[in-house]
Subunit: 183 residues, 2 copies
DNA sequence: ACCTGAACACCGTTCAAGT
DNA sequence: ACCTGAACACCGTTCAAGT
């Protein structure tokens, strides 16, 4: 009845509704209509399941817009952030999943390919794209951590005002730095 | 017998020796020579204890070197990374602790102050320093995740070669970007 | 092929009770 | 002031057994 992608889809739904702490193997199993031990027939462990959830999130990223590399990369970072913001605690989950080495979808792929096509070396393109992914994930992780604190009532609801300009500043920094490294 | 800082010190020792997953309240209590429930007399919860551990790690950062802002900031990022690399899983712990809002030592403070003294606006200095802290934490978290996989035997021991140049590339990116934002 | 039942070895946290 | 004992409500994971 429940296949791999169906289980990952329920886990993602649970993530959206209850946050990362709500995604336990037992809760996912409940959502699927099965016992927790059944999930281990489809996934070897929880890390593998969360990697599949990360893949599903990253797969929602729109393709790079047709434009000069500067605005294409800027728009890509903005869309990456926007996509993460549609899923509760997604930045923390994706960071951990990427670190686990169990993911199959790489958020840096399109930006890396673009930079390389624009003349940067393979390594420079990879490192720049990796730095951008790190910045977006780190920034959104902080935003979502604050949202968590707001939901828990430990922070007032108006502590979000500076997120947008801080993000734009980081994007500008990375773009200017990237431009500066070109031969 | 065991005070707050002694408990945090044992937790840090445990982190170094067993990694973040080895730092449970029961294990920390064992190391201190007490029962787990006793820790709750000194710390309200585990997050507060881990924040104290994060503070202890960040306090080990050397002061900014006397130099032009460019090399001062570059050396600061390198020392930040070097300090994190002396404590197992520290990047993940510090990231989570900073996000929890329970820390009292801010790794970005010295760089932010320097940039402001060098003429950047308060917000630009804060955002640039934040982007740098994010990059270092994200980069080292990935390094330490890979070290974890190597220890677990899922990765061969020679997969570390590209860490250093990738870090240097990110540093160069952020410095060039920062220089570019100055009026 | 897919799932259940039951267990194992853990967690963080609370709280009455001790000294 | 500081700690223990004992419990509560969870975890991820394994594995024999069912169908």
């Amino acid at each position: 009845m429940a296949d791999r992608t169906g289980i990952a889809a329920q886990a993602l739904r649970l993530l959206d509704e209850r946050g990362l702490s709500g995604v336990s193997m037992r809760h996912v199993a409940d959502a699927v209509g099965v016992k927790a031990s059944a999930i281990y027939w489809h996934y070897p462990n929880k890390a593998a399941l969360l990697a599949a959830v990360s893949d599903a999130i990253i797969a929602q990223l729109p393709p790079l817009p047709e434009a000069g590399w500067g605005i294409a990369v800027r728009v890509w970072m903005e869309q990456f952030r926007a996509t993460l913001l549609t899923h509760t605690d997604s930045a923390e989950l994706v960071s951990a999943a990427l670190a686990s080495g169990l993911t199959t979808v790489d958020p840096a792929a399109s930006a890396r390919a673009l930079l390389q096509a624009e003349g940067w070396s393979e390594l420079d393109a990879a490192w720049s794209a990796a730095a951008m992914v790190r910045f977006v994930l780190g920034h959104v992780a902080e935003e979502q951590a604050r949202q968590r604190l707001i939901v828990e009532g430990v922070l007032p609801a108006d502590a979000v005002a500076l997120d947008e300009p801080a993000f734009n500043h980081g994007v500008r920094l990375l773009l200017a730095g990237t431009a500066n490294v070109l031969p």
